[in-house]
């Protein structure tokens, strides 16, 4: 996360409750993908990208592929 992101979140902390995931997310639970794009082609699922508030990257460049086994 860059300095601008740290400043933004530090401003939130005083104003949000402790359950606000956008400010206080415990990344040991696993890095989430907020608003990724999911599509199915044939028997394969493609999960693309996503928004991650409060990480180094802030967004995912990952394409995840899942396969349905029949």
């Amino acid at each position: 996360m860059n300095e601008a992101g740290r400043e933004l979140i530090s401003g939130w902390k005083a104003n949000v409750p402790p359950y606000d995931w956008m400010t206080f997310y415990d990344f040991s639970k696993g890095i989430y993908r907020q608003s990724p794009k999911l599509r199915v082609i044939g028997d394969r699922f493609y999960l693309l990208g996503g928004d991650i508030v409060g990480t180094v990257k802030n967004a995912s460049d990952e394409l995840l592929v899942g396969t349905v086994v029949k």
Binding site: V16, Q34, P36, V40, L47, G66, V68
Partner: protein
């Protein structure tokens, strides 16, 4: 579109695009310029028939309940399904001013009527949905909202139990029932990668 919007849902039924919900700013003088404040959430639904572009975007019945954004939406045949999502309790989009839906609905495009479905298994924010085999809708990603949202509790009394959603939920449109697949989506890796090169093939899902 009639106005700019962010965080909407978009579904495709045949050759018709259905845009629903999200946040908008209803500025009659400049409807296509979006400003984050004072944007408001909406449950409005509009459609565009690609075989009849002259008609332009036309209104469909709004999603029941309050405003809704960052929800799961998908169409199977002539039915549009909406799952969970979030809403703003005020103009400020954070903290306890952000609310979450658990309900789900289906819009029959022939009857132009919404009908309530069984609630989604949990409150979710930022999930995405995709149809599969003209029967199922697969939903994953986003946040799994687990904290209690009760007016009789102080914020300190609601533990930080929200987490990323790594579950894959399948809605069967014939049975109108949910099933959570045993195979979860792995959390995002925190390793840095070059843009466009990060592709992971994960464990196989059992047959639906």
């Amino acid at each position: 579109m009639p106005y700019a919007r962010i965080w909407p849902g978009l579904a495709v039924s045949g050759k018709t695009l259905i845009a629903a919900g999200g946040s908008v700013i209803f500025d009659k003088e400049n409807p296509l310029v979006f400003k984050s404040s004072p944007a408001v959430g909406t449950s409005n639904v509009q459609a565009l028939d690609l075989d009849n572009l002259e008609r332009g975007w036309y209104e469909l019945p709004p999603i029941p309940g309050t405003e809704r954004g960052l929800f799961g939406i998908a169409a199977v045949g002539s039915r549009v399904y909406v799952f969970s999502g979030g809403y703003g309790k005020g103009y400020v989009n954070y903290g306890d001013l952000r609310g979450y839906h658990k309900d789900a609905y289906v819009l029959d495009l022939g009857k132009l009527r919404w009908r309530r479905l069984p609630d989604f298994p949990f409150r979710a924010h930022g999930i995405d949905a995709a149809p599969y085999l003209d029967r199922y809708i697969v939903l994953t990603g986003g946040m799994k909202i687990m904290h209690q949202d009760r007016s009789d509790l102080l914020p300190e009394q609601s533990p930080n139990t929200d987490s990323g959603n790594f579950e894959v939920v399948v809605f069967d449109t014939q049975l109108e029932a949910y099933r959570t697949l045993p195979s979860r989506v792995p959390p995002l890796s925190d390793e840095r990668s070059r843009p466009g090169t990060h592709l992971r093939v994960e464990s196989e899902c059992p047959a639906l």
